[in-house]
């Protein structure tokens, strides 16, 4: 049986990266027309679209909460997104990921401003290359900001792991499949808190601590990229504001 080496003799990975190097990441905000907010991310070969509708009327009515908005989150993979065609029906994995992704984004959203409404988040994985839930969270957080939904801060996601005994950052697909551990993390740098944390594989306590620190550091970097992406999209706004005088834009009551 052919042995796949994940680290070469120089300690570089299959795609030439160093142990602590992120894959190339590209972010774009506001690319869909109908959604209230949207963002697109390319991370490694991941191609993921996130869209937000809301706040909008809770339908069906009975899901509404009296004192805050309900967050609905759907993580879904397109049938052509993976090596082998994936059935369009939601799998158990997609259901679990929809839950943990929602739980990572909820703490950042000031949902108490919109009682009895819903905020709907849709994440579609068009092409998957490991780390989809983290990339999905990074894009979804931007989409929420793009929709003008009040948030405490953005949420960034990144995974770390272990490959041939070495702790590495941002697993690629082959590393996820053949490596020793996978640790996806979602982090809010301003508050220094973790909203998503999962792990599978085998790590000693020391390796775990190392991997966690690595993932958290990467999330800080990704957060800066998110802010830059928002600047790219909205930098023209300042000129627009200088032209109008009275009549402030719709605002959130304090």
């Amino acid at each position: 049986m052919e042995e796949v080496r994940l680290l070469d003799k120089n300690g570089l990975r299959v795609d030439g990266r160093r142990l602590d190097e992120l894959r190339p990441l590209k972010l774009e905000v506001g690319i869909l027309d109908k959604a209230d907010g949207s963002a697109y991310i390319e991370h490694g070969k991941n191609k993921i679209l996130a869209a937000v509708y809301g706040p909008r009327e809770a339908q069906p009515r009975h899901i509404a909460l009296a004192d805050r908005a309900v967050l609905r989150c759907r993580y879904h993979m397109a049938p052509f997104s993976t090596e082998e065609r994936k059935s369009p029906a939601p799998s158990r994995r997609e259901l679990e990921l929809s839950k943990v992704i929602r739980e990572a984004l909820e703490p950042s959203i000031m949902s108490e401003y919109f009682p009895r409404a819903t905020i709907d988040i849709f994440i579609e994985v068009l092409q998957a290359d490991a780390g989809t839930r983290c990339a999905g969270i990074t894009a979804a957080s931007l989409a929420l900001a793009d929709a003008g939904i009040p948030m405490r801060e953005l949420v960034a996601g990144c995974a770390a792991g272990k490959v041939e005994g070495k702790v590495v950052l941002d697993l690629s697909d082959v590393e996820d499949k053949k490596g020793d551990a996978d640790l996806p993390v979602a982090f809010m740098p301003k508050s220094n808190v973790i909203g998503l944390l999962q792990m599978d594989g085998s790590l000693t306590e020391d390796e775990f601590n190392q991997a966690l620190d690595m993932a958290v550091e990467a999330c800080r970097k990704i957060y800066e990229m998110q802010r830059e992406a928002l600047r790219q999209k909205y930098h023209l706004v300042k000129e627009e504001s200088e032209v109008k005088e009275e009549a402030p834009a719709p605002e959130v009551k304090q």
Partner: protein
């Protein structure tokens, strides 16, 4: 007392705006001694208050807003109206300038406003515990029976109105069309013929698209003039 963002600096959620005894205004929040932005927008210090003028967002009703809404249901004593907000609005019969003093059933209510009818109304109540309440008692309010509708993002309505109403005055004059901008992003264009209305709607969407540019009023005026050529002006 330190200010980190001011003079319409672009900020996003979680960006620090100031530290110290400032009042946390619209679209900001306080954590300990620091004030942060909660939305994408332009930060400004007004006196001892920090505010962020949000650039985008779904319409959230405010008291006294003029809105353009569509009837979605007829109830016992009023109508349910879609005002493009996360909450359906209610127009009670008592808030319309109708004949009082006789019992009105659903059919009678349906003769005043049927499902699908458009109206200009004003928000008279709205808070956390109940859906917005409307009135059509007032000048210029009531059923809309002709004209065209444009739907833009609510944040751009001030741009449609313009500095001291300069943009909307120009639009009305050049197109000959009456334009009623609802705060909820729904705009009515009522003219004497469909061609004029179409030009007005085109102008409205042009303003939404190019809101951030300067010299817009002149360019929109030029576009309207261009369209008007070769058409009989009534």
């Amino acid at each position: 007392m330190t200010v980190y963002a001011d003079k319409r600096q672009l900020v996003g959620p979680g960006d620090i705006l100031a530290e110290g005894p400032f009042f946390a205004g619209e679209n900001t929040y306080r954590e300990g001694t620091k004030v942060f932005s909660s939305r994408i927008g332009l930060a400004e210090v007004v006196g001892n208050k920090i505010v962020v003028m949000a650039v985008k967002g779904v319409y959230i009703p405010r008291l006294d807003d003029i809105v353009v809404g569509r009837v979605t249901d007829i109830g016992m004593s009023g109508w349910q109206v879609d005002i493009s907000a996360p909450y359906p609005a209610m127009l009670p019969l008592s808030e319309t300038p109708m004949q009082r003093g006789r019992d009105m059933g659903r059919r009678d209510l349906g003769h005043i406003y049927g499902v699908g009818d458009l109206m200009i109304a004003q928000v008279i109540a709205f808070d956390r515990t109940r859906d917005p309440l409307l009135t059509t008692k007032g000048r210029g309010l009531g059923k809309v029976t002709s004209g065209r509708v444009a739907r833009i993002t609510p944040a751009k309505i001030p741009r449609i109105i313009g500095k001291k109403g300069s943009m909307i005055t120009m639009l009305k004059k050049e197109t000959g069309v009456d334009i009623v901008p609802g705060q909820n992003g729904v705009i009515l264009a009522v003219g004497r013929n469909p061609d004029q209305e179409r030009i007005a709607v085109e102008a409205l969407y042009m303003i939404e698209r190019e809101a951030h540019t300067s010299g817009l009023t002149d360019r929109v005026k030029a576009m309207i003039t261009e369209r008007n050529k070769g058409k009989s002006v009534t």
